[in-house]
C-alpha cells in the first residue's frame, strides 16, 4: 500500500508543466490578421500555450456538421470552438460542452448583452461565453426617408408614398426564402406584435404573418424576396432599388462602401419597427466560445475564453473587424464610437435582441417552423394531392406492362 501512496505523491508534485498545443476551430475570418495578432498576444501572456487555429466552412450548417462529427468522435484535435447562438441547447444536451459558470461571476455576466447570456445559459448553467453579437436592423435611404418609421404600418405608408414618386424603387427587401433567415425575419414581425412562435404560432403571431403576406410582400416588397437571402436582398438595396431593407450589422460597412454600393453615404440605420402595442424586437445572432467537454486541455481553453471575452481584446477586434462586441461597455468606448458613430444606435438594438426559441432539437424545430411560415407566406399548401402524384406512376406502370406483354422478342 505504501508504495502506491508514494507513487501517487510523486505524480502530484508540481513539475515544470510541458508546453501545450490548444486546438481552436472557427469559421474563416474576414480579417485574418486581426485574429492572428490577438492570438499571438495571448501566447505571449501564456508562454506555455500554443494556439493552433483550424478554419471550418463558412456556412453555419456545414460548420455544425463538422463540429458534431468531431465531438461525437471525441476528436483529440478539438479543444475550443465557436458555436452559433442557436446551438448551445443541442450541444449541452449532447454533453459536448464543458460548463463555465465558475469562469464568469454573476457581476461579470451583467457586462455582456442580456440576449447572448440568456442564449448561453442552459438549465441554469452557463455553457458558453458570448463572443460577438448580431441583430436584425432596419436600413433605409436617408435621402428619401425623413424619420425612421416606428411601426410596420408607418413603414408601409412611407414606402407607398416614396415609391409613388420613384416608380423604379421597391418599398422594402428582406430575407423570406425558406431557410433559417426566414425564422429571423418573421420572428421580428411576430414578436413585435407580442406573438409567440414556439411551441406553435399563437393568434397574434398569425396576425403578424398575415400582415406580412398581404400588406408587405407584393404591395411593398417584390415577391422575389420569397426566394432571396441576405446577399440577394441586400444587392437590390445596394443598387439603389429599395427604400427600406432589413439585414445584419455587417451590411452597414458594405452599404457605405462606394466600390460596392450606389447608395454609400445615403444610408440610415434604425431599430426595426413594431406593431401598435408591441415593442421593437431584433432576432439575436452571433457566435459563442465553447470548450469541448472531452478535451484534456480544458484549463488552457478556459484561459483563452477569458482572454477573448475580455474588454481589451473585444475592443481591439471590434475596431479591426467592425463586428458587434458581446460586452456592451465596448460600444460606449469613445475610440469605438469615434470610429463607428452608428454604434450608439446599434447598442439600443443589441440590448433589445432576443434569442430564437431554444431546444435541444433546434434544427428540426427550425425546419418545421420554416415549412409552416413559408407555406403561410406563399399562401400555397406544399401538400401533394394523391391523384396527380400517382397518375404519372400509373402511366409508367401501364407502359411497362404494355412493353413487356408481347411475346418474348
Amino acid at each position: 500500500m505504501l508504495r502506491i501512496a508514494l507513487a501517487g505523491l510523486l505524480l502530484s508534485l508540481p513539475q515544470e508543466p510541458a508546453p501545450v498545443e490548444l486546438h481552436f476551430l472557427m469559421w474563416k475570418p474576414h480579417q485574418r490578421e486581426a485574429w492572428t495578432r490577438a492570438l499571438r498576444d495571448f501566447e505571449k501572456l501564456h508562454p506555455r500555450i500554443r494556439v493552433r487555429v483550424e478554419e471550418g466552412p463558412h456556412s453555419s450548417s456545414e460548420l455544425h456538421a463538422m463540429l458534431v462529427t468531431k465531438l461525437r468522435a471525441r476528436d483529440p484535435e478539438l479543444d475550443l470552438f465557436l458555436i452559433d447562438v442557436v446551438w448551445p441547447a443541442e450541444f449541452a444536451a449532447a454533453g459536448y460542452l464543458d460548463p463555465i459558470d465558475d469562469l464568469f461571476s454573476e457581476e461579470e455576466r451583467k457586462r455582456f448583452f442580456p440576449g447572448p447570456i440568456e442564449a448561453d445559459t442552459v438549465d441554469g448553467r452557463l455553457v458558453a461565453a458570448p463572443f460577438n453579437v448580431d441583430a436584425g436592423l432596419l436600413y433605409f435611404r436617408k435621402d428619401l426617408v425623413k424619420a425612421a418609421p416606428e411601426t410596420w404600418n408607418q413603414l408601409a405608408e412611407q414606402a407607398a408614398a416614396i415609391t409613388a414618386r420613384h416608380p423604379d424603387l421597391f418599398g422594402y427587401t428582406g430575407q423570406f426564402d425558406r431557410y433559417e433567415g426566414l425564422v429571423c425575419n418573421l420572428m421580428e414581425l411576430i414578436r413585435s406584435n407580442g406573438g409567440r412562435m414556439a411551441p406553435s404560432l399563437d393568434e397574434r403571431a398569425e396576425e403578424a404573418v398575415a400582415w406580412a403576406r398581404d400588406r408587405l410582400i407584393g404591395p411593398v416588397a417584390p415577391r422575389a424576396v420569397l426566394n432571396q437571402r441576405e446577399t440577394e436582398s441586400r444587392e437590390i438595396f445596394l443598387q439603389g432599388h429599395a427604400v427600406f431593407h432589413r439585414n445584419w450589422p455587417e451590411t452597414w460597412k458594405i452599404a457605405n462602401d462606394p466600390a460596392r454600393s450606389k447608395v454609400a453615404g445615403r444610408v440610415g440605420l434604425a431599430p426595426l419597427p413594431r406593431f401598435e402595442g408591441g415593442r421593437s424586437v431584433s432576432t439575436l445572432g452571433g457566435w459563442q466560445l465553447a470548450i469541448a467537454s472531452h478535451s484534456p486541455r480544458r484549463a488552457e481553453a478556459r484561459a483563452l475564453v477569458r482572454y477573448l471575452a475580455g474588454f481589451d481584446v473585444q475592443k481591439r477586434l471590434t475596431l479591426e473587424t467592425s463586428h458587434g462586441p458581446s460586452l456592451s461597455a465596448v460600444m460606449d468606448d469613445p475610440d469605438v464610437l469615434a470610429r463607428f458613430p452608428h454604434f450608439a444606435e446599434m447598442k439600443r438594438v443589441f440590448f433589445a435582441a432576443e434569442p430564437r426559441p431554444r431546444s435541444p432539437d433546434y434544427a428540426e424545430l427550425s425546419d418545421r417552423l420554416q415549412q409552416t411560415l413559408y407555406a403561410k407566406l406563399t399562401g400555397a399548401e406544399d401538400g401533394v394531392a394523391v391523384l396527380p402524384a400517382l397518375a404519372p406512376m400509373a402511366v409508367l406502370g401501364l407502359l411497362v406492362f404494355y412493353l413487356s406483354r408481347g411475346r418474348r422478342a
Binding site: 471550418g56 466552412p57 456538421a65 462529427t69 441576405e230 446577399t231 440577394e232 444587392e235 455587417e250 458594405i254
Partner: protein, 266 residues
C-alpha cells in the same frame, strides 16, 4: 421534317448551357441587372477570377484526384469480375450478374450513414481518399456491366488460338485479350471517371473542408456570406463542365457504345 426536328433538338440541348456560359463573361453589375442581356455587353473575366479566388482550382484538382483514383481502383476490379462473369463458365454467373445489376440501384442516402461511420472510424472523413470508397461501390456495377458486354463480343477462338500457340494464361491475357478488349476498357474508364467527376451527394457529405472539396459541392455551396455571385457561379460551372464536354465531343463514339453496350441485346 427531320431537319427541323434536329435543329429544335440541338437548340434545346445546347441553348440553356450556352446562355449560362455567356453569363459567365458578364461583369457583376451587368449580371445582377433586372432582365439580363442575352450576350454580354461588356465582357469581362471577373467571374472567372472570382471563381478562382474562391478555390475553384483546388476543387478541380481534387475532382481530378478523386475521379482518377476511383477509376484506377474500379477498373481492375471490374475487369476481373467482368472476365469471370462473361468468359468463364463460373457457376452462379447469372445470379451474380443480377446481384451486380441490383448493386447499381442503391440510393446514396441509404449507404451514407453507415459508410460515414466506417470512414470516420478510420479517419477518412474530410480527406480526398474518403469519397473514393463509395464511388468505387457505385461505379463498379456499371463498369462490370459494360466490360462484360464488351468481353462477350470477343470471340473465344482468339484465346484458344493463343493457348495453342503456347501462350500461358498471363501472356494470353496481356498479349491477346487486353489489347483486343482495350476499347471496351477505355470506354468503361471514361464513364467511371465521368460518374466520379459529377457525383455530388457523398462529396457534399464527406468533404467539408474547402481545401479537399471537389467541384460539385464547391459549386453548389458557392453563394457565400457576402455575395450571390452569379458571374462566379456561371464561370465555375463552365470550367467544371469544360473537361467533360471535351471528353464527350472527342470520344463521342466510345461513350455512346459504352452507354448502350449490352443494354440492348441483338
Amino acid at each position: 421534317m427531320t431537319r427541323v426536328a434536329a435543329v429544335v433538338l440541338v437548340a434545346c440541348s445546347v441553348a440553356p448551357f450556352a446562355w449560362f456560359a455567356s453569363a459567365s463573361f458578364k461583369g457583376p453589375r451587368e449580371i445582377a441587372q433586372r432582365r439580363p442581356t442575352l450576350v454580354p455587353l461588356e465582357p469581362t473575366l471577373d467571374g472567372y477570377r472570382g471563381a478562382v479566388d474562391k478555390g475553384l482550382a483546388g476543387w478541380m484538382l481534387n475532382s481530378l484526384i478523386v475521379a482518377t483514383a476511383t477509376t484506377l481502383v474500379t477498373l481492375p476490379l471490374a475487369a476481373g469480375a467482368a472476365y469471370a462473369l462473361s468468359r468463364t463458365r463460373m457457376r452462379g454467373r447469372r445470379i451474380l450478374l443480377g446481384l451486380v445489376l441490383a448493386a447499381s440501384m442503391f440510393p446514396q442516402v441509404t449507404l451514407a450513414h453507415t459508410l460515414y461511420g466506417m470512414l470516420q472510424s478510420v479517419g477518412l472523413v474530410n480527406t480526398r481518399a474518403g469519397p473514393v470508397f463509395p464511388y468505387v461501390s457505385l461505379t463498379l456495377p456499371l463498369a462490370i456491366w459494360i466490360l462484360a458486354s464488351f468481353f462477350r463480343e470477343i470471340p473465344a477462338e482468339l484465346e484458344e488460338a493463343a493457348r495453342i500457340d503456347g501462350a500461358g494464361p498471363v501472356r494470353t491475357l496481356v498479349r491477346v485479350f487486353l489489347p483486343v478488349a482495350a476499347p471496351g476498357v477505355f470506354t468503361a474508364a471514361i464513364l467511371t471517371f465521368i460518374y466520379a467527376w459529377n457525383e455530388f451527394f457523398f462529396a457534399l457529405v464527406l468533404l467539408t473542408g474547402n481545401d479537399v472539396r471537389t467541384l460539385p459541392p464547391g459549386i453548389a455551396t458557392m453563394p457565400g456570406q457576402y455575395t450571390f455571385p452569379w458571374g462566379e457561379i456561371a464561370a465555375a460551372c463552365v470550367l467544371a463542365t469544360a473537361p467533360l464536354l471535351a471528353a464527350v465531343l472527342l470520344l463521342q463514339r466510345r461513350i455512346v457504345s459504352g452507354l448502350t453496350a449490352g443494354a440492348v441485346k441483338q
